[in-house]
């Protein structure tokens, strides 16, 4: 058996679930989420146990042009699996809202595909992590994007969800156009789409090459939510079902950065055009940081806040990308996964119980449920980058590498201003938790899965904050 079979295994799980879904009784379709999560957990275990075995990681010749098990593929594959598992678990707790907007009688008769689609997206994400050719990157990227079109618009009786779906579809199609067009120019300029070959080539700077690269970078900007392709983020995040928002903001963004690393690595390393690529990247990063942080200041909806915050985080990640500090990107993404999922699990709870995703929905949480309030406080502190939480280290490493490189000082100043602005809007949530009176005294019932997920993620935030070596061991040095 070979490691590339894992992707097939994931697809097989998805297909079997679809078949089962077609014949199952309409009562129990949400159980599919748990089955899917279980299946993916098995895949994750196989991936981790067999990662160092040589026969396992070998790639047959017919596939080697398109597929690698080296580089950062292991990290991004585990990342895809873990986030999909968490998304499926979150979806299970989200089922009451989903049922309300998909059927007339509040049953889960129409929700089967919702729990199956993330599995296919996961297969796409895993392929993407291993892709080494622009063509295979494009194909796997589209597999992911197309499943997302469906998932975003899944709550078809909810106008917000439909609007989000249309926006995502149109802008996604646009960005796909950019990507294909960019790949075409790149191929025209250097005569190959094989990235391994590009890495060994003497690259010379030419306008067609730079034009192609710019187009590719812009379309990757769409995936990660960077300026100038960030406009879709707030509306789509707000309208999409909450677990899918989490999926978009974590797995899809991470995959975008995984692909960006693979594609841009040879160009950033090249003497002739590395400087130009770097220039594009840090200008995008600075604009993204400003846009994300300044727009977040005025938000009153928690989901939109998380949307702008995800734009802001993309800005920091782009800075790390521009100075070729890929290790930091891995670290940042790993901590980002933990804290963002913690935030979304809590939001999911409030959404299901109080039907609200405004920041006001957290009013008086400190009184209603002090433990949940503590968890959210720690999560928000981590997102703001308060030291001794996981979120601080990623920012610290980014600052350290941009000061070491060093990037031009206006970019550095923008990065620091952006980090400081973060304190304001994340603390707004903490303020709502403790300062305001609760709108209702209804006790919050925390379902079992959410409860343990939140506990584990919050503890991880604190442990990694104090002892970051823990996560370094996990993601590899």
């Amino acid at each position: 058996m070979n490691s590339y079979l894992l992707e097939f295994l994931v697809v097989a799980i998805g297909v079997i679930m679809l078949l089962w879904e077609a014949f199952a009784s309409p009562k129990n379709k949400s159980k599919l989420a748990l089955i899917g999560a279980g299946g993916l957990t098995i895949v994750l275990v196989i991936l981790i146990l067999a990662r160092n075995c040589e026969a396992w990681t070998a790639v047959p010749d017919w596939l080697s042009r398109f597929y690698t098990t080296g580089g950062y593929s292991l990290f991004f594959k585990s990342f895809a699996l873990i986030s999909t598992i968490l998304v499926l678990l979150m979806s299970y707790d989200f089922r009451s809202i989903l049922n309300k907007y998909t059927s007339t009688d509040n049953t889960d008769s129409n929700t089967g595909e919702f729990y199956t689609l993330p599995i296919f997206a996961c297969a796409g994400l895993m392929w993407m992590a291993s892709a080494t050719d622009l063509v295979s990157i494009f194909v796997s990227l589209e597999l992911v994007t197309i499943t997302f079109y469906v998932m975003v618009a899944y709550m078809r009786r909810n106008v917000g969800s439909l609007e989000a779906g249309v926006k995502y579809l149109i802008l996604g199609a646009l960005s796909t156009g950019f990507l294909v067009y960019g790949i075409a120019w790149l191929y025209g300029a250097i005569g190959t789409t094989d990235l391994a070959k590009i890495a060994t080539m003497e690259l010379t700077s030419s306008y067609p090459l730079l034009f192609g690269l710019s187009l590719i970078i812009i379309s990757l900007g769409f995936k990660v939510g960077a300026v100038p392709m960030q406009l879709w983020i707030p509306d789509v995040y707000q309208g999409a079902p909450t677990p899918i928002t989490a999926f978009l903001s974590i797995a899809s963004k991470a995959a975008g950065f995984g692909v960006a690393i693979v594609i841009l690595q040879p160009f950033l390393a090249s003497d002739s055009i590395g400087g130009n690529v770097q220039l594009i990247l840090y200008i995008m990063a600075a604009a993204t940081l400003l846009y994300g942080n300044l727009s977040a200041l005025a938000q009153t909806n928690f989901k939109r806040l998380l949307a702008y915050s995800s734009i802001a985080h993309a800005g920091f990640l782009l800075l790390a990308l521009s100075v070729s500090d890929f290790q930091t990107i891995k670290f940042y993404l790993a901590t980002y996964l933990i804290m963002t999922f913690a935030g979304f699990f809590i939001l999911n709870l409030i959404r299901v119980q109080d039907n609200s995703d405004e920041i006001d929905g957290f009013d008086g949480l400190g009184k209603r449920n002090p433990n949940l309030a503590l968890a959210l406080t720690i999560t928000m502190a981590a997102m703001a980058g308060v030291p001794l939480t996981a979120g601080f280290w990623g920012k610290l490493f980014v600052f350290k590498s941009i000061l070491t490189e060093p990037l031009p000082w206006p970019v550095i100043v923008i990065a620091f201003v952006a980090a400081a602005a973060g304190f304001y809007y994340y603390f707004k949530v903490i303020r709502a938790i403790y300062w305001h009176k609760p709108a209702n005294d209804k006790p919050l019932i925390i379902p079992c899965i959410s409860k343990y997920a939140i506990i584990i993620l919050t503890v991880a935030i604190v442990v990694i904050g104090v002892y970051p070596i823990a996560i370094e061991c996990l993601i590899g040095g």
């Binding site: 002090p370 503590l374 406080t377 502190a381 308060v386 030291p387 001794l388 601080f392 280290w393 610290l396 600052f399 350290k400 000061l403 070491t404 550095i412 620091f416 980090a419 400081a420 304190f423 304001y424 603390f427 903490i430 303020r431 403790y434 300062w435 104090v466 002892y467 970051p468 070596i469 370094e472 040095g477």
Partner: protein
């Protein structure tokens, strides 16, 4: 391991209070604060090996704790003493015990951690630990315009921290290590780093013109928070300038010396005049604490100018004395408000008749903060003024530092004006409406004030008690 215990004790107590029964909160906090004093004394007298845990390999960051340096020892003593007093002080509103005592202990743990860390990262990070509890305490349980004040304070402190972080990262980048025991002057960019440190640390210590958060914050915060913040946490910036700033960028600091002199004079004279004008006791005390930071900056300026270890001693002694005296002032001011329901100075009067021991203790700390000989602040202030003239010959003529020192001495007069006037208006004369039916301090209320007052007296008579650590 003793050094680690210093941080773990308050943190474990926080966990115990948060998950335990609210009725036991005060008891647990008291035990933790008392235990910490015992551990601190054991660590200082017996001497103890440091603690070191590698938390990250690249860059190499360690959770390294040690109390080997004299300044750390003094600051540690200050932290644990004020913590104990703070836990005793103030009156916690019904049903808020958990928030009250966890926040107090978290701030204390942050301060202690910052002072005994010997790794630049944890030095910075522990200080930040206090940010959220301060925000919550002011925002939820503060007085007056509490929400506005909490925002303002947090934004100022976050701004200062970020600027500081930039400076520290530039240092770590050049030195190639975060280890504070191996600090040495950096090769390049001294001026830029020094400016970042002065602004960063300066904001945290309320250096003019970044001082406007401090007085409202202390006036609004519940007593334990203002005691810990004004008394202990604020000294972090001064500690940082001496321990990191002067070691790493001495030339850069010298470059900005003229600017620093002007700013510290503004702290003393400008803020001093503002203080005279205050109508409320809490705002007056808050502003006076900002004003007194100017003296310590003066000692740092003298250190930069003539490099004498005398200036360091002066700075540290005054940091200690000021920490104790300002904590005691806030503790007593809180009692005045609890008993009379107001801190408006002109609504009070004749309080000494019904509350003689309150009047005595407040008088004692008032005299200390003016700088009356025999009390700790005097020893510190006189050393600061002497350090301005350390190594100076009359033939040299007056330099900027000497002129600044001479002007700064007038600050003592300003202190006397506002402090004596406040004392007269509040405690002397006929009793008024508000002070007619007031009881004197109960035993529990006296404990923290007497503890702090005794220390002021002991250090005032025998400053060597503190200075011995610095030789």
């Amino acid at each position: 391991m003793l050094t680690l215990a210093l941080i773990l004790i308050p943190l474990l107590a926080v966990a115990a209070i948060f998950f335990g029964d609210a009725a036991n909160a005060r008891k647990i906090a008291l035990i933790a604060a008392a235990a910490n004093i015992a551990v601190a004394i054991a660590a200082l007298s017996a001497g103890c090996s440091g603690f070191n845990l590698n938390v990250l390999s690249d860059p190499n960051i360690n959770l390294a704790l040690s109390v080997d340096s004299g300044i750390s020892m003094v600051m540690l003593l200050l932290s644990v003493i004020v913590t104990l007093a703070a836990v005793f002080s103030g009156s916690c509103p019904e049903g808020r015990e958990k928030l009250w005592f966890t926040s107090t202990l978290l701030i204390s743990a942050g301060a202690i951690g910052a002072f005994i860390s010997t790794d630049l990262f944890f030095f910075f990070a522990f200080h930040e630990l206090a940010l959220i509890p301060t925000f919550l305490m002011i925002g939820i349980l503060g007085r007056g315009d509490r929400k506005e004040v909490a925002w303002k304070t947090t934004i100022y402190l976050a701004f200062g921290s970020i600027v500081l972080l930039a400076g520290l990262l530039m240092i770590a980048d050049q030195l190639g290590s975060f280890d504070m025991t191996q600090l040495k002057p950096v090769e390049s960019h001294q001026n830029e780093i020094a400016l970042l440190l002065i602004i960063g640390f300066g904001t945290l210590v309320s250096l003019f013109p970044f001082h406007s958060w401090a007085a409202p914050a202390y006036a609004s915060a519940p007593a334990p928070v203002s005691m810990l913040h004004a008394g202990v946490l604020k000294k972090f910036g001064l500690y940082g300038l001496i321990v990191v700033g002067y070691e790493v960028v001495p030339d850069g600091m010298a470059h900005w010396l003229p600017l620093l002199l002007v700013l510290l004079l503004c702290n003393i004279i400008w803020v001093g005049l503002v203080t005279i004008n205050q109508k409320r006791l809490d705002l007056m005390l808050g502003n006076s604490s900002v004003m007194h930071m100017g003296y310590i900056f003066l000692a740092i300026a003298a250190l930069v100018d003539n490099g004498s270890s005398f200036a360091t001693q002066a700075a540290v002694l005054l940091m200690f004395a000021h920490g104790i005296s300002i904590a005691m002032s806030f503790c007593l001011a809180d009692r005045i408000e609890a008993k009379t329901g107001t801190l408006e100075i002109n609504q009070l009067g004749g309080l000494a008749k019904n509350a003689p021991s309150l009047a005595f203790l407040f008088g004692l700390v008032g005299m200390a903060s003016i700088g009356l000989p025999g009390l700790a602040n005097f020893a510190g202030e006189i050393m600061v003024f002497f350090s301005g003239f350390e190594g100076w010959e009359p033939a040299d003529g007056l330099g900027p530092l000497q002129i600044t020192t001479i002007i700064a001495i007038w600050g003592v007069v300003i202190s006397a004006v506002y402090m004596l006037r406040a004392f007269r208006n509040i405690f002397q004369g006929e009793t008024v409406n508000r002070t007619e039916k007031v009881n004197c301090l109960s035993r529990d209320e006296k404990i923290p004030a007497i503890l702090l007052g005794l220390i002021l007296l002991i250090v005032g008579i025998y400053p060597q008690a503190i200075l011995q650590f610095l030789n």
